[in-house]
């Protein structure tokens, strides 16, 4: 097993555990500290969830009643998005458009699925490497934080860790239950 992947998975599990134990804002602040504090490690904990998802052909967990139109800005996963929605750009809510790369670092939101009433951690990964898609701009910003709380800010170009920072669009990956 790749030791870095193992390390990342440990951190991801830890982060999810922490999220379940603490209030949302408290969790997010701590997570921000954690993310920045570990920034010298090449692969970041929660960020890596997105990267692994991209590598392994991420499949959303089965969520009862995950209904709605992913090309609609009111779709429940987009509660904290600020960007062009991937499903309008050739991708899906959980995959990037052809020829773009999913960002390895990202910001995290918590959205309530109206179908089951549960809160879920949503990872808003940017799709990088091509010009802006300019379709279906969606700007919901729920609990968006200023740029100094980096892991909670959607005013950052999250393609920042890529060889090209060209921003194309954004996906909304369900990482797990936030209140479980």
């Amino acid at each position: 097993m790749d030791p870095l992947n193992w390390f990342d998975r440990r951190f991801e599990t830890g982060a999810r555990h922490l999220a379940r134990l603490t209030s949302r804002r408290s969790f997010l602040t701590r997570l921000g500290t954690l993310l920045v504090g570990t920034a010298s490690i090449p692969l970041l904990p929660l960020s890596r969830a997105g990267a692994q998802a991209a590598d392994a052909g991420f499949k959303d967990p089965d969520i009862e009643g995950d209904e709605g139109d992913p090309t609609n800005c009111n779709y429940w996963r987009y509660c904290s998005i600020d960007g062009f929605m991937s499903p309008c750009c050739g991708g899906s809510a959980s995959s990037c458009p052809p020829g773009t790369e999913m960002s390895a670092v990202t910001w995290i939101g918590t959205c309530r699925n109206p179908a089951d009433g549960n809160d879920y951690l949503i990872s808003y990964n940017d799709c990088c490497g091509k010009s802006p898609c300019r379709q279906c701009f969606c700007n919901n910003n729920e609990d968006d934080m200023p740029a100094y709380v980096t892991a909670r800010s959607n005013n950052i170009n999250w393609c920042l860790a890529h060889s090209t920072t060209a921003y194309n669009s954004t996906v909304a990956l369900v990482l797990g239950r936030a209140d479980g």
Partner: protein, 422 residues
Amino acid sequence: MRDRRTWQVGSVYWNWTLCLRYTNIMTPQKHPIRAIAILIGLAFAAAANICASQDFDSFGRSEVLPDPERDWVFVDYSLVDATDDHFLGLIGVAQAGRPAAFRFSPDGLSLFLVETFYTRGNRGERTDTVTIFDTATLGVAGEVVIPPKRALLLVVEGTLALTDNGRFLGVFNLTPATSISVVDIESKSFVGEISTPGCSLVFSAGDRSYMMICANGDLLTVTLDEDGREVSKERTERFFDPETDPVREPGVRYGDEWLFVSFDGYLHTVDISGEMPRVGESWSLLTASDREQNWRIAGRQPLTVHQQSGRLYVLARQNDEPLDDPADVDGTEIWSFDLASRERLQRLEARPESAASGGAAATLGSTSGDGASNILVTQGDDPLLVSAGGTGISVRHALTGEYLHERLQHAPSNGWLALRMR
């Protein structure tokens, strides 16, 4: 501009050329002696100023800006005379898609901003530069290559700071590790990078120091030595609580203080006159009655200060719900406060009644378009209040609120506002 060799007769400019052409048409080719005679006659007549004709334009001339005036304002990269409604010129940046923070050298001859380049347009090898522009031409005068780490944000203020001694530029980096790249503008060289874990954005905090805001609400002070290298990094007292009411990024300078507004409408002050920043008492820009009526502080560039009078201008709007990202919605009113007494002095409309609302379609960095997103006040006596909305720029006398231009005709319709420092 008219050439010295040109004369004006009625509404027509004349010089020798037109006169000779006319002569040529009138001269039958089969009578060369007669033609020569006419030409000689005309030459004498012209010498006596009887005949005037249009002059040649000189080729290859470009304007050079005169000494700046106090009402010159940048709207993103365009320089505009706010009194005369005159477009003066454009900064020659490579990418004008997003606004950038500017800083000026103490002598006012140079302007600095940060740019990012790829060898193949938007791909290839990345190079970041502090680009130096000549303020008389707004053209490139040089560059300093810095590590390719500068933060790419929708935020303008806090990305570039110049120490108060006017020598060291600090560029905020985010990879997402946070750090500052220091550039010596005297020697035009990169000095080094200073790691600033957990703390972001960069503001000047004295002759050789910067202030940063940390994710937990602390302030970080970074102090430099005479050569711009790190001497110390020290976290100071808790500035605010990000879990209850975070401050917004676009701070403004008022003398030796930085002013920031929180999401919930409180003004926070930081005094940087001492060795370490000192946090002042915060106070509410909203009265109890304002809060009952759901007034909020909004706008992308929500604060501006007239230094001489100590008058603060802010953008405000009514919104039933608290604003998740106040930068994305315009203020519908501009309020002014006396910073000493904390009294509200003026309530002005943010957008002239005659002006249309709207503007650009919703996209990254756009705002609601129903008021003004950016405000700036000029300095000195009789300051001007410049406000930018989705559909245009308004200019008025800041102290009276009286319009000078409801909408500028020769300026971009919106953008980040910055003073041309003198």
